[in-house]
Symmetry: C3
Subunit: 112 residues, 3 copies
């Protein structure tokens, strides 16, 4: 299992969530974060204003997935979160050793 963590633009959240649902992903944990990325001489637009150096609001999604779904999940996030502009975000893949569904005690891929 893997924990897929995606940092995306806030206005893309619903679109990404819906696309993940469509490929069968039912569990997602979302938090509001502030992001700091490369600017490389460019500036990132946020709500019509230019941000040069400071933190920009982003959405972090965490999705625990079985190994065989990782590629599909990553592609789905890439395709839906991408605008082609600076600041589209990152996807990180972290090993996940165990998962437990608290209500039932199920473990492993049955639990996610």
């Amino acid at each position: 299992m893997k924990l897929v963590e995606a940092i995306i633009k806030p206005f893309k959240m619903d679109e990404v969530k819906d696309a993940l649902n469509e490929i069968g992903i039912e569990g997602i944990t979302v938090s509001e974060v502030k992001g700091f990325g490369r600017q490389k001489g460019h500036t990132e637009l946020y709500r019509g204003a230019e941000y040069v150096v400071d933190f920009i609001p982003k959405i972090k999604m965490e999705i625990a997935v079985p190994d065989e779904l990782v590629n599909k999940v990553v592609e789905t996030i890439e395709n839906t979160a991408k605008t082609g502009r600076i600041g589209d975000g990152k996807i990180f893949i972290i090993p996940l050793e165990e998962a437990v569904r608290i209500r039932t005690g199920e473990k492993g891929t049955d639990a996610i």
Copy 2:
């Protein structure tokens, strides 16, 4: 070492925290997240209202623990966070390669 991440119902936070303290866990990091889980035809109750599809407030707890405490920590969270109803939450176990206590520079299990 492992990083235990638990997504639980907000009203269970104090009970889980107290139970973890009782088994000797002193360090916990908590954040407010929004959760999206399976509904499977069911709806999840939140503050007396039925939520069918949308994000529900959850609490995320992160606890860095030595290997020999992982099972005890997971069981403690399961036992205290469980209500038996839809939405009780998940526990994820992630490998933790190193830990540092910033004040002292201690590393490894001495640092957690």
Copy 3:
């Protein structure tokens, strides 16, 4: 690659961020968390008040870094976040299997 997670005192955030920039780190994700640590008979000061048992506001920084930068990043955080007093925080190092820059599709160390 590793995911470096640091829990620090909020007033140290800018200093840590600037120090990380100076060693070439351009991407950081920040969130507001509540922390619970050891008290060991001591109390931790927050805004001039003593906190004996309860949650204290902390800042969580997440930084994806190539293996060869991990030590430098950890030392930089230690040096800048340290006050020498109770509650200075923790650094956790988690394995990171893959990273993707959503705008370009770049992967691995090119993506972070």
